[in-house]
Symmetry: C2
Subunit: 561 residues, 2 copies
């Protein structure tokens, strides 16, 4: 059986059919100056059209983990599909290069696009591993080099933050609602927009970022802040006090009094346990006003003054009044303090109310928690036990606080059909030469066992046939595998001129589903937070031999003195 290739194809779509990158600042100038100096030197040497193959990959999984989520591909293809210099850009490049550069070069730049290029890549949302090319870019060396910086930029953060989101989801558990709240702390405006997009892709449920909601169709969430609470003084300032019953049958003329009656009932009932006297009146006014504006969506931030002595009783009084009129409050948000304790105490209080006042499901009111959450705090909450239903996560998620960069690199592996290797005293930095294919081999239990790279023209691994998988640099690490399923990892997302057989760019919702599915099929020991087992990455025996032949050939022989 041949290698499995999934997914729809788009026959004969032209480059022009693909929109430009989401951020209009992503232009062919979003690159390093040295890509232009090199382009000029290639052009001057008559080498600019030599056919080069570059691999884009990373060397180490982020966050101390053993997996990475691949993201950012769609934006790369959008850049490639629309890659042309404007006259304005060309005249800026001309000003930036030495005046001795020949004008013919700028005519050359004027004619450049990516029609003579081929890009194979792993599908966005796939779980990926170090050293295996995420993308293989083939084309005229000068043009491929110009793409190095923007491709790395578009993949680096996207994959990092999608992985971070997947890791947060893993710790929080499948049944929790995860909300990305990071825009204000993100690294710049599209650090924020990118975070929202790729956190959703990595398994979050919604974002607070309205612009991202509009751009990508991500569900939006949000209610109110502390400032909203402290902007009110007391319920006396509420002028319009009426609220229609949910079924429209009649109108409660004084919702404020209804709330106050409930507050008083709560205060004197045994469930209060004497924990509260006067609740904060500015908070009460804010909750009532919010409920009057959003009777169907009442969710209150309860920690502006004191959660148990003010926020919770005020919330419950408003929620009970809403209940009288046929509305069901959504719940509360906690944004400070001991979230395990406060969520458990709040839940107890809600359940006591359900019992005491016979309000069905009141005990199940939603509890959202926020405040500097990360993998560690989620894990600690799980260990302590908590009653939180939804987590709002910002700073640590979007800035990837635990590791703010992924080291994606872009290495020349072949030029003019000659394989090239980049040596380094640090073995982990030696590049794997040749134009390659790569395959994921699955075992009997359905788990992926190993990824293997082969030379382009080697016969691909076959289902049921034993194959030797070798560590690319460690002679002694090798294993035979009989794959139960073989999946070719890279597909053609940019076939160049013809535009034929181009893999389609799926909508973000599909990528998200694929990502969740991919994460779910991994063997659990690769996924755990502490001491995860490394997933195996290998080369074929033939490629192994070739790497080491080339290495010896290129490395100078030392002389000890």
């Amino acid at each position: 059986m041949a290698a499995v290739r999934n997914g729809p194809k788009t026959e004969g779509k032209r480059a022009g059919d693909i929109d430009g990158p989401t951020n209009p600042m992503v232009t062919p100038l979003l690159t390093d100056l040295y890509q232009f100096t090199m382009a000029y030197a290639y052009w001057k040497a008559g080498k600019h059209n030599e056919r080069a193959v570059f691999d884009l990959y990373f060397r180490k999984n982020p966050f101390g983990g053993e997996y990475t989520v691949f993201a950012g591909l769609e934006e790369c293809i959008k850049l490639v599909a629309n890659f042309r210099f404007t006259e304005d850009e060309i005249s800026f490049i001309r000003k930036s290069l030495p005046p001795s550069c020949e004008v013919g070069f700028y005519d050359y730049l004027r004619g450049i696009d990516c029609s003579d290029m081929e890009i194979h890549a792993i599908s966005e949302g796939f779980v990926v591993f170090p050293k295996i090319p995420l993308m293989r870019v083939e084309g005229p060396v000068a043009v491929v080099q110009l793409l190095e910086t923007p491709l790395a930029n578009l993949i680096n953060y996207a994959s990092l933050v999608a992985t971070n989101a997947a890791r947060h989801r893993f710790v929080a558990g499948k049944d929790k609602l995860l909300l990305e709240f990071g825009l204000r702390r993100a690294q710049g405006p599209d650090g924020g927009i990118g975070a929202s997009k790729y956190c959703y892709m990595g398994g979050f449920d919604a974002t607070s970022n309205v612009a991202a909601g509009k751009l990508f169709g991500i569900p939006l969430r949000g209610t109110h802040s502390h400032a909203f609470v402290s902007s009110f003084m007391s319920p006396d300032e509420i002028i319009e006090k009426s609220l229609k019953r949910r079924d429209g049958s009649n109108v409660c003329e004084d919702f404020v009094s209804l709330v106050q009656t409930w507050l008083s009932k709560l205060k004197w009932s045994h469930i209060s346990g004497g924990i509260f006297g006067e609740t904060n009146q500015s908070e009460l006014a804010a909750f009532i006003s919010y409920a009057l504006a959003f009777p169907e969506n009442f969710l209150a931030l309860v920690d502006t003054y004191d959660v148990m002595r003010s926020g919770i009783p005020n919330f419950c009084a408003v929620a009970l009044a809403l209940n009288d009129l046929g509305y069901k409050a959504v719940g509360i948000r906690l944004d400070s303090g001991d979230l395990a304790y406060l969520s458990s105490e709040s839940r107890k209080f809600f359940r006591a109310i359900e019992k005491e006042f016979k309000v069905r499901d009141f005990g199940k009111a939603g509890i959202t928690a926020s405040n500097d959450l990360n993998e560690e705090t989620l894990d600690a909450l799980n260990k302590q036990g908590h009653e939180v239903d939804a987590f709002g996560i910002g700073t640590h998620l979007v800035t990837c606080y635990a590791q703010p960069a992924l080291g994606v690199v872009f290495k020349l592996v072949e030029i003019n059909n000659q394989p090239r290797i980049k040596l380094s005293e640090d073995v982990s930095k030696v590049s794997i030469p040749c134009k390659k294919r790569s395959f994921r081999l699955y075992g009997k239990e359905g788990y992926p066992l190993v990824d293997i790279m082969t030379g382009e023209n080697e016969p691909p691994p076959k289902v049921g046939e034993r194959i030797l998988c070798r560590h690319p640099f460690n002679e002694s690490k090798r294993a035979y595998v009989v794959p139960q399923r073989v999946e070719e990892l890279m597909k053609c997302f940019w076939p160049g001129k013809s535009g034929k057989n181009r893999e389609e760019l799926p909508p973000i919702k599909l990528i998200r589903e694929r990502c969740i599915e991919q994460l779910g099929q991994m063997r659990p020991d690769h996924m755990r937070r502490l001491n995860p087992t490394p997933y195996k990455v290998s080369v074929s025996a033939k490629l192994y031999d070739f790497i080491h032949f080339l290495w010896l050939n290129e490395a100078p022989v030392g002389e000890l003195q």
Copy 2:
């Protein structure tokens, strides 16, 4: 003498005269959904036009330091000046809010702009400290709230990365050339563009980012990569070998042979010390090609194969051949290995050549170092001794690896002339109420001594007059100061409707100079990397009393059980 107010003013400029934000994705939708739900609730309660004052500030200096550089103001003012919703945006907001929201609210949104708002801020590039407002935003509460998220987003990363740049400059020393090389590892496209802008502001000299060079006029730097080196096979492939003498007097027909002659001389001279035999021929070909393309700007990356056995001799042979034709090579770049050792060895080799072959200034050839540099590695290089003239810094600089987020917050301090306070069990999170002014008081030696906040209507501190400066929350911390100079910190950058007396937004070069000057005037113990002395931040005696009166008034009294 009254408080000093510096800087030019722009009389009568209208809002429309200010361009929009650099990134077109910065629109009024770049905010959290809850700003819209709150706006609706304010509107529904008839409170939306209540006059509110919000302070934007941070609570802790980043990177374990005791200072921060304020950046991002210009982009904020550009957003504010152009703040209007499009019909398309309004219809998206409408889809995002519950269908029960009244249509009148969308008419209200249609009419919103920032003409009824006033923004005072510290000037961009100033050294700033925790708790002191960076910005005071005053206006209709609903509109000010909508601005919270984008203002925080635009200030947070900008100030963080400018501070990071200033810290790298501090360790590298004033005489080194600092180059920002971070685009490929930045958090998204304008994470990269923002990094370039604000690193330059914080004291870097140049960037590799061409788009940022075009947008902000930042000097550009860059030469070639490892891929350029390995894309060549051998000097045999060089077809066009001629190079004109610098003075135009004649042409060297075979520059390749000239280089090879020099390489052979080097190899057999005593200065080689037998350390090299055959140098790498693909590297040699790449260097020659680069020199033929840029004879005036020859800078070679020398670590693709082996620095001392291949890169340095190859570079020197090309540089000596260039020298024969009247050109002066710029130098080398090291991108791996022991930078202290390799830069010193390279320098020795250059000096030996200068002496042996009487090539004037050859010993001074520039040495640029890159490869995962940060404050620590720069400090370690200084301690070991090195010969590096320029540092190219990427990942750690632009992603602010050591601390990837600054906690800028936006707190309501007054509404309808009523002061408001946000309480917290964590004292450092209690906000300082009231519409305030703030002043920097300078001592006899010209150093800033303390920043002090006062109520808006208090008489400002005066030169030569003793004033009590109190810690806002710690009763026992207070000090008398007799200022030698008083500088009011906030100026009006957005006067609202009239547009009169608006502080001008200076060009980035001026902000950069101001920043360098500001950093230079700080007392050295505040600036040092290890255990710096905290700079004092205080409130007037009157404001202190008022904060604590309000605090007691708002906080619920506990009951121990």
